[in-house]
Structure formats: structure tokens, C-alpha cells
């Protein structure tokens, strides 16, 4: 009797374990509940922004009766793996943050993302978003996701250092070079740089500022990294290194703190950097300011400005698909973007939204004019495997500046492999 009971117990345990395993491995999602009001589960890799999303709940509950239940991940790689695995379960999220570029295309190709073409058409008709931004969210003629935020990559500078050295905000590349020379001769390092992760921005700036089509060609594989024009640009970067214009690449001092204490006078960063500088105790407009970096090639008609935009997406098979899309639709409105800009202290993609920080408001208005050409940031414009190698090689170049060709050849070898796989 005991023996039989033990056998049954073991069999039940084994069956339970098998069921758990099968449940864990089974794919497919739950059916869409169809609800358009309630609490929406939201996942993001921007854990630090969780209080800002919570702050928005007041506005969204009043307008569309939806509140976000936010789960923030602080490790981007861990977050990406979680989202990808969630598509295999019934827990795919009703709303989640993602990346544009090849990462977005990858999900769309697998049919995992809900289409948002109608939301975009309405927003464009209302004048809430630009056609330029719609392009970033278009795959095979249809739109997917909505922009969570937008950031322009500009030059921040320490106003006191500029005043002390009698430097005016540069409006041409020559004036920028002259400012760097003035600073260097006064014993001040002109620019911040690092050899980890954010290694791409100066390359991006000089390539797009020289020829936007050349920059575009790198992201489509039509231009090689070993192209003579790219080599010339890298050599210009090398000259600047040899002139001592960049900070120590191995320093781990917080970049905002470094700008505050005058370790360097300028830093090329996204317009979300205001938050870090405010956090370091600098006052916007008094201690620091920003300017759009002039075009490298004076013959260009428009000044290129890199834009970074992170999407808010809805999973196609999510139980909260309708709810996620309802929130996405509200998110595009001026009311939502005003609330977001207020909560986050960032520029808004909707030109009809009110931006409280005058510096960011002015930047948004400036960049929206016909004199500027907005292009996708290198981080999103470059396919991930090429990007990984390029970030490493730019980091290696920054750490040990020298003949740029070997670095470029390594990136091009990865690019050749990637584009061959796409054929």
C-alpha cells in the first residue's frame, strides 16, 4: 500500500514537473481582452524613469482612464532578452519600450508587433508629429509603435569657461575649431570623450556633418567604412586627438560632474543630458547651455542634427493589445506630451506640446526649422552586430589614437559579413 502510494506520489510529482516544463516552453499568447480602460502593464529598460511614468498616471487616468503599472529594468541586455522570451509565452506585454532601426525591424519581420499606422495617420494629420519621424517608425510602408521620447544630439558647454575665455557660441565648424584651440592654449581640455559605449557620437557628427548621404550609405551598406572619405574624416579626428582636444578616455568621473568642475569645456550628448547636469548641481542657462553643432562641410545647405527616438510598442499577441493601442493613441496627443515633458524635463516630439524648460523649448523650435536636417542617431541607424564592433573599435581608437585604417577594416569585415547574410 505504502509502495503504491509512493509510486503514485512520484508519478504525480513527475507529471507536475512535466506540466510546468511544457507550460514554460509553450508559445503563443492569450487572446486580446479588448478592454480599452484600466491598468496597463508596462515594461521598460529605463528603470530610472519609473517615477516619471508614474507621474503621468494622473493625466492619463483623467483623459483616457488608463494607468500604467510600470516594471523597470536597469540592464538593457537583460531587458531585451526578457522581452524576446516573453513573445514565447502568454505574458507578452501590452506596452513596452524598444529600439528603432534593425531591432524594431527584427520584431516586425516576425509579426510580433501591433501595427500603429492609423494612429500615425491621425497624428500626422493633426500636426502632432513630423513626416521625418514617421520614417523612423516605418517598416515596409506601415508604422509600428509610437515614439516614447525624442532627443537631439547637441553640444553642451560650461558657460563660465566660455565667458572666461571670451568664446562665443560657434556657428561654423571653423569657429568650433578656433574655440577648441583657444581652450587648449588656456590649458582647458575642449571635449569630453569615453572609450566605453558612447564612443560613436563624434564619428557620427563629422560623417553626417560632411555628407549626410555618406552617413546614410554606412547604415545601408552602400558605403564601406574603408571609403577614402571616411578615412579622411577619421584622420581629422586623429589630428584633433593629437592636438590634445579630448579628455582622458579612461576616466570614470561622471561626465556631468566633469563638465561642472571644468575637466573639459564641452560635451556632445543627447538633449536628455539636462537632467544629469541639473542633478550635478548646474543651473540650466546659467552654468551650462547647449548649441547645435555646426556642419563640418560649409557647402551643405542644411545643418544635420542627430535624433534619437525610443519607441513604445504593443505586442501583437498581448492580452492587453487594445489597451496598449488606446494608450499609444493618447500618448501622441499634445496633452500627453506636455505632461511627459513636464515629468521628464525633456524635449517633446509633438510641436503642439508645451515644453517647460526654455532651453529645450528653443532647441525643439530651432531644429524644426528648414535650416536643419534631422537624421537617425548612429546607435539606431547601424545594424546591431556592426554597431557592437564599431563601438568597440571607436573605443579602441579613442584609447590609442593612431592610423585609423586598421580599426575601420575590422568594422568593415563585420559589415561585409552582416550584409552578405542579408542577401
Amino acid at each position: 500500500m505504502n509502495s503504491r502510494r509512493t509510486k503514485i506520489g512520484a508519478a504525480v510529482a513527475a507529471l507536475a514537473a512535466s506540466a510546468m516544463l511544457l507550460a514554460a516552453c509553450s508559445g503563443g499568447g492569450a487572446a486580446d481582452s479588448g478592454e480599452t480602460t484600466g491598468t496597463l502593464d508596462f515594461y521598460t529598460n529605463k528603470a530610472a524613469w519609473e517615477p516619471d511614468f508614474d507621474e503621468l498616471n494622473g493625466a492619463s487616468e483623467t483623459s483616457v482612464d488608463i494607468s500604467l503599472n510600470t516594471t523597470g529594468y536597469s540592464d538593457a541586455d537583460q531587458y531585451d532578452a526578457f522581452i524576446k522570451q516573453s513573445f514565447r509565452t502568454s505574458k507578452s506585454p501590452g506596452l513596452f519600450t524598444w529600439q528603432t532601426g534593425s531591432s524594431l525591424t527584427e520584431l516586425v519581420d516576425e509579426g510580433l508587433i501591433a501595427e500603429t499606422t492609423d494612429i500615425w495617420s491621425n497624428a500626422v494629420d493633426e500636426g502632432w508629429v513630423t513626416e521625418d519621424l514617421r520614417e523612423t517608425y516605418t517598416v515596409d510602408g506601415k508604422q509600428y509603435c509610437v515614439p516614447m521620447n525624442i532627443a537631439y544630439w547637441v553640444m553642451y558647454y560650461n558657460t563660465k569657461i566660455f565667458e572666461e575665455q571670451g568664446i562665443e557660441v560657434p556657428t561654423t565648424w571653423e569657429e568650433l575649431d578656433a574655440a577648441a584651440e583657444t581652450l587648449k592654449s588656456a590649458g582647458i581640455t575642449p571635449y569630453y570623450q569615453t572609450s566605453t559605449l558612447f564612443t560613436f557620437q563624434w564619428f557620427q557628427q563629422m560623417v553626417a556633418g560632411t555628407d549626410p548621404e555618406l552617413y546614410e550609405g554606412l547604415s545601408t551598406g552602400e558605403v564601406e567604412y574603408t571609403d577614402p572619405e571616411i578615412v579622411d574624416i577619421m584622420n581629422m579626428w586623429l589630428d584633433q586627438h593629437e592636438a590634445g582636444w579630448f579628455s582622458d578616455a579612461g576616466s570614470t568621473v561622471d561626465p556631468a560632474v566633469g563638465l561642472k568642475q571644468g575637466d573639459y569645456a564641452m560635451i556632445n550628448f543627447g538633449s536628455f543630458f539636462n537632467g544629469s547636469l541639473d542633478g550635478a548641481g548646474m543651473v540650466s542657462g546659467e552654468d551650462y547651455d547647449m548649441f547645435v553643432i555646426p556642419k563640418t562641410n560649409p557647402d551643405l545647405e542644411r545643418t544635420p542634427v542627430a535624433v534619437e527616438s525610443g519607441p513604445l510598442c504593443v505586442a501583437e499577441n498581448a492580452a492587453q493589445k487594445a489597451l496598449g493601442l488606446a494608450y499609444s493613441e493618447w500618448w501622441m496627443s499634445p496633452e500627453a506630451q506636455t505632461a511627459w515633458s513636464e515629468a521628464r524635463g525633456d524635449v517633446a516630439f509633438n510641436p503642439k506640446a508645451t515644453v517647460s524648460d526654455p532651453m529645450l523649448d528653443e532647441l525643439g523650435t530651432t531644429v524644426a526649422s528648414d535650416d536643419y536636417l534631422v537624421y537617425d542617431r548612429y546607435y539606431e541607424a547601424t545594424p546591431t552586430p556592426i554597431l557592437t564592433v564599431a563601438l568597440e573599435q571607436f573605443g579602441a581608437f579613442i584609447a590609442n589614437p593612431g592610423d585609423p585604417l586598421p580599426f575601420l577594416e575590422i568594422i568593415q569585415a563585420e559589415a561585409d559579413k552582416y550584409w552578405a547574410d542579408q542577401e
Partner: protein, 291 residues
């Protein structure tokens, strides 16, 4: 009717079953799945495409992988020479010394820290213009090496950081080994006039062999899977110059979403670790103690 012994066996199986199922589900199934993925091209979405040994070929053709492999070998050699060597020296110097246990305590405390924590502390010390550079600057030494930027110096200083964490536990293990040596041969050797180096080479070292084999074996395995401290200090950079195999595996899998290549590196690392551990331990533990 089942015998008493058979009933006992069935009861035992019932108790063991949950453990066996857990190990199978959490260890062996992922191992099999990883091995399968290593023969596929897979980006984490949809279904994997079978490509045979393509990932393994790509792995060995990649110069970055070779750098990673060499760095890992440097870690193996470095962690044997420094934390194991210093641990043994510390154990010998404090053995039988009045208050010796208290001398070992400061070396043992860092073992309680996580690898990432150790990495953060040491990157604060060793980064350019960091604590060490500033301290050296106070003594008028301005032209300091770029500790975490130049290769292979960055790997060497990371091994030293890992040694800072690992010396204490190695010393503790060697002390346990020294304390377990019977008193009779020691006293006989001393009566014969063996002291210092002679006592160590003829008596202590041979009698410590089983424990040394375990300490060195554990050290080899730990250094082959070095990951967290490198992630915390250099992220494998600049330009992958300080990457280890475990970090390359992580990067390919979770940064590049190349689950196939990442799995191939994981399989390679597993095989190397198992071969190293089995060969070394079999060779060491099968030796008879001769003294």
C-alpha cells in the same frame, strides 16, 4: 508483495525525485538546449535555423575570439601564481603563529564581496585620474600607466584585483590542510633537523598535495569562467582587448542577439573547463603520497 528493501527503495526514489527533476529541468535541459542552439543561427525570435558547425568555424576565424582565449589563459596562469601562491605563503606564515587566525581575517573579508562589487571598487582605484593616480600624484609621480586602458596591463591589474578577493579563502583552505597534517611525521622531521624550506619541500608540500589539487582545480575552473570582475572594470574593452571567453559569450548572446554563436562559445568553454578539471584532478588525486 514487495519486499522491505524494495519498499525502502521506492520511498527513497520518491524523496529523490523532486531533486532529480529540478536538476534535469534547470541544468541538463538548458545544457542540451544550449548545445542544440550552438549548431543553429538564432536571434532569439522565431525558430532556430540549423547550420551545423558554422558557428564553431566562425568562432575560430574571429581574431576577437583568439584575443579572448589568450586573455582567459592569462587569467588561468595569473590566478594560479598570485591568489593561490600568496594564499599558500600566507597560510604558512601564519600557521602555528600566536594570533595567526586574526592575521588571516583581513584577507578573508573581501571574499564576502561580489565580483561586480570588487570590480567597481577597483575601477574607482585604477581608472585614469582615479584614486591610485591621485595618490601617486601626491608623491610627484604624474606619468602613470593607463591601468585599465592599455592591454595586457588591464588584464594583469584585474587579476591582481581578483587576487585581492581570493587570497583569504585560499589561505584558509591551505591552513585547514596544514592543520590536518599528522603531528608524528612533523615532529620526526624536526628531530631530524628539517626546518624552513627543507621542512616545506620534504614534508609539508607533499602532504598538502590533495588539498593543493582541489584549490588549484577550483582556481582553474573559476578563472576559465571569469566574467563579473571584467564586466565591472573594463567591460572587456577597449576594443575587446581585455575580454574573456565568458564575456565574449555574453556579448554575442545578449548584446548581438546571436544566440547560436554565443551558445557555441558556451559549449567550447564548457568542454575546455571539463577537460581541464578532469585531467588535472585525475592526475593529481591519483598520485600516491611519497615522502
Amino acid at each position: 508483495m514487495a519486499s522491505r528493501g524494495s519498499q525502502y527503495q521506492w520511498s527513497a526514489r520518491g524523496f529523490i525525485a523532486p531533486g532529480v527533476i529540478l536538476v534535469a529541468v534547470l541544468l541538463y535541459l538548458p545544457l542540451l538546449w544550449t548545445t542544440f542552439l550552438s549548431f543553429t543561427e538564432y536571434n532569439g525570435l522565431g525558430d532556430p535555423d540549423w547550420i551545423g558547425f558554422g558557428n564553431f568555424a566562425e568562432m575560430f576565424e574571429d581574431p576577437g575570439f583568439i584575443v579572448s582565449l589568450l586573455n582567459t589563459l592569462l587569467w588561468v596562469v595569473g590566478t594560479l601564481l598570485i591568489p593561490v601562491g600568496i594564499g599558500l605563503a600566507l597560510a604558512l606564515l601564519t600557521w602555528n603563529l600566536p594570533g595567526g587566525v586574526w592575521l588571516r581575517v583581513p584577507f578573508l573579508i573581501p571574499y564576502a564581496l561580489s565580483g561586480i562589487g570588487v570590480g567597481l571598487i577597483w575601477s574607482f582605484i585604477l581608472s585614469s585620474n582615479g584614486a591610485l593616480d591621485q595618490a601617486l600624484g601626491a608623491f610627484g609621480i604624474a606619468d602613470t600607466p593607463r591601468w585599465l586602458v592599455d592591454a595586457p596591463l588591464n588584464t594583469v591589474v584585474m587579476i591582481i584585483a581578483a587576487a585581492w578577493q581570493g587570497v583569504g579563502v585560499n589561505a584558509l583552505l591551505f591552513t585547514i590542510g596544514l592543520n590536518s597534517i599528522p603531528k608524528e611525521p612533523l615532529e620526526a622531521a624536526r628531530v631530524d633537523g628539517a626546518t624552513g624550506g627543507r621542512l616545506f619541500t620534504s614534508i609539508l608540500w607533499p602532504m598538502l598535495r590533495p588539498l593543493t589539487a582541489v584549490v588549484v582545480g577550483l582556481s582553474i575552473v573559476a578563472s576559465l569562467k571569469t566574467f563579473d570582475i571584467v564586466l565591472g572594470m573594463t567591460k572587456g574593452g577597449p576594443g575587446g582587448a581585455s575580454e574573456t571567453l565568458a564575456l565574449t559569450m555574453y556579448k554575442e548572446t545578449f548584446v548581438n542577439s546571436d544566440y547560436g554563436l554565443g551558445s557555441a562559445i558556451a559549449v567550447f568553454l564548457t568542454i575546455v573547463t571539463m577537460i581541464a578539471a578532469v585531467l588535472y584532478l585525475r592526475q593529481q588525486l591519483s598520485k600516491k603520497h611519497e615522502f
